[in-house]
Symmetry: C2
Subunit: 159 residues, 2 copies
Amino acid sequence: MPKFKLDETDHKILDLLIDNTRIPFTDIAKKLEISAGTIHVRVKKMEEAGIITGSSLQVDYKKLGYAFIAYVGVFIFKTSQTQFVLERISEIPFVTVAHVTTGKFNIFCKIRARDTAHAKDVIYQIDDIEGVSRTETMISMEESINDKKRLLHSIFKEI
Amino acid sequence: MPKFKLDETDHKILDLLIDNTRIPFTDIAKKLEISAGTIHVRVKKMEEAGIITGSSLQVDYKKLGYAFIAYVGVFIFKTSQTQFVLERISEIPFVTVAHVTTGKFNIFCKIRARDTAHAKDVIYQIDDIEGVSRTETMISMEESINDKKRLLHSIFKEI
DNA sequence: GGTGAAAGCACCGAGTT
DNA sequence: AACTCGGTGCTTTCACC
């Protein structure tokens, strides 16, 4: 893997864009005291290198009536069925992420739902998949940080 | 909580913006066959209503050398210490999310690291927090979907 | 790799229906 | 609510350093 080399200026650009993709390049240019054209070229390069893969809107799902978050650990009868089950789980609406994991569970996923009744429906769909022996649910009662900016800072301190 | 009412047009706008925040409003306008000014007004309203809370850049952390993802379940001696431990965990670099949960664990978090050695450092920092009795780590070996667009579609089908 | 200017667009508020 | 329109400001390219 040919690692793309980012310099201090790229770090600063990413830092400004990471939690506000709509900040004008002219504003970034003023802050970094370089020209807007340069910002444009550098961002484009980072996109081409695959460092920047896209942008996404942050939506408040609570406001849409979807305040419920849970993590579901999935046990599978035979590990050879893992891939099959992973694909089925990934197709279920309201499952937002799924991982094959080492440790307690074979598969581990996150769900977002309206309420407990709705979550139950989703979990039952997981339980119903062929090859799943049982599931274990952890309901999120409080979410703390979820800060991309901080992660990026930690990474930039190291590289 | 006064729920904000989104109509079909708002759905379509969010659908286009959710995975491309830099799409010009004029492009959205063309696709939906309404004026760009209207797109502008509607987006602003959704921002004011707190439905849209911001935007973020998607960065490929693998390309930056941070390919390791694990989930860590945390056991705490006394549940009264939960809040304290949650705050300490949230301060640790490379912990990306933390939840207070029901079920097996008291706290549940996600970490992003360079490799296993680096992850070990992070997990030891969690273990060292006063009040933590032990942790259980699940290493992600494969991540499947993580698709905001799909979640949004599922929600729009219901509301 | 950076600049600065110019052309082309997009944004966004005001006024209108 | 939605439209049009115009001033302002942003993006993007390019010749030049």
